[in-house]
């Protein structure tokens, strides 16, 4: 007669160790899902935006980290912390990334990573290892992760109808734009700047900078996209 436990053990199968390929694939899936989640939050829940932003992750595998450059000195603000006032913009003095030219960065922030699709700006001095139990919004060293950071990218899609309805129409360096709040963020913002047909610059500012429309528009006005930048597609 069959013992129930033994029968279940036979169905469960052998205790086979995972291959290195399986482990790597699990990690890749997790990282991809986390990025999708972060970018979907950043995109204000727009399906098109989520798809477009996911595309930059796939297409932007060459996004370089460690292209940080020195800029104006200043104490590093904590992205996850409440700041007393808006973080000041200062002249960007580092090497200019390809496809994008930066006039200004927040004081104490650096260009963390860049590729032809977009740039990531983060507080200077992020430790090599960010504790895994760090609260949400604490920036890490991964330039593909946008928590606690600023990112700008060139993309095909502008704001969805929902954001057009709720966002505020503004002008950025003479170009039409839509300014809106980031989904699930208290003080974070998103800005869509129309550069041409199916060509938008998307700027995302996480919580913590104390910025409002004035600062976001001023910052975005100092980002110049040239023809070598590539458009992410949804």
């Amino acid at each position: 007669m069959m013992n129930l436990h033994d029968g279940l053990a036979r169905i469960a199968g052998p205790d086979a160790e995972p291959t290195s390929e399986q482990v790597a694939a699990d990690l890749a899936r997790g990282r991809s899902a986390l990025r999708r989640r972060r970018t979907a939050q950043a995109a204000g829940g727009s399906v098109f935006m989520a798809a477009a932003l996911a595309a930059v992750i796939v297409a932007g595998t060459g996004l370089s980290g460690g292209t940080t450059a020195p800029e104006a000195a200043g104490d590093r603000p904590s992205a996850g912390a409440t700041v007393a006032g808006p973080t000041q913009l200062v002249a960007y003095q580092g090497e200019q990334p390809k496809g994008f030219t930066l006039d200004k960065v927040p004081q104490g922030w650096v260009l963390q990573g860049a590729d032809e699709y977009g740039i990531t700006i983060a507080p200077a001095g992020i430790p090599d290892v960010v504790p895994s139990n760090a609260p949400p919004g604490v920036p890490d060293n991964d330039p593909h992760s946008f928590e606690g950071k600023i990112m700008a990218q060139l993309q095909e899609f502008g704001p969805g109808d929902d954001l057009v309805g709720t966002g505020k129409k503004v002008t950025v360096a003479g170009k039409e734009a839509v300014f809106t709040k980031m989904l699930d963020q208290s003080t974070g913002h998103a800005l869509f700047v129309k550069l041409g047909a199916d060509r938008w610059m998307y700027v995302q500012v996480w919580d913590g900078l104390g910025w409002g429309e004035k600062q976001v528009v001023e910052f975005a006005g100092g980002i110049h996209v040239d023809d070598s930048a590539k458009v992410t597609h949804g």
Partner: protein, 169 residues
């Protein structure tokens, strides 16, 4: 570039994936493909929620809940594909298992159980979890666990026939 989350997750997968696959195989009544899907879904969710998982008072319980949640998701998907529903446990007469692999009969019997009932059986009688931990894994009351496992055992007795190991449960 790996961060601490990646390192911890990597170690977790290396040390726990095999056990997760075995559990998932039982929860899916021996469906290896569905079990692999289940494990992948669970691991992905764990990675995304890694800080919460690290803070969990009962990490093993957290993983079990994630597996069960993924199971119900997967089962819904599978049922939709096969246009099959199982609101009630179907009646079956006792099957003869005098020849062949006896686990085939058990596998068939498990397959006839609703997924949460099957999970209750697996956690209680394969992993020897107590009623409280099983209830935690299933996200239900202890009373529900007792009734689910009792019904599951009844079904196994019906399908498998008299069996000493079932008689003592």
């Amino acid at each position: 570039m790996k961060n601490e989350r990646d390192e911890q997750f990597h170690q977790f997968v290396v040390s726990r994936r095999a056990a997760l696959v075995r559990t998932a195989t039982l929860l899916t009544a021996g469906d290896a493909h569905l079990a692999e899907d289940l494990v992948q879904s669970t691991l992905t969710k764990l990675y995304v929620a890694w800080p919460a998982f690290q803070r969990a008072d009962n990490p093993d319980g957290y993983v079990r809940r994630a597996l069960v949640n993924a199971l119900t998701d997967e089962r819904r998907r599978w049922w939709r594909r096969s246009e099959r529903s199982m609101a009630e446990v179907p009646d079956r007469v006792a099957a003869e298992h005098t020849g062949g692999d006896v686990s085939d009969g058990l596998r068939a019997a498990l397959r006839e159980l609703p997924p949460r009932m099957r999970a209750a059986l697996v956690f209680r009688y394969f992993y020897d979890l107590d009623v409280a931990d099983t209830a935690d894994a299933l996200g239900c009351s202890e009373g529900t666990v007792k009734s689910q496992t009792a019904r599951a055992l009844d079904r196994l007795r019906t399908v498998l026939g008299p069996n000493p190991s079932l008689a003592t449960l």
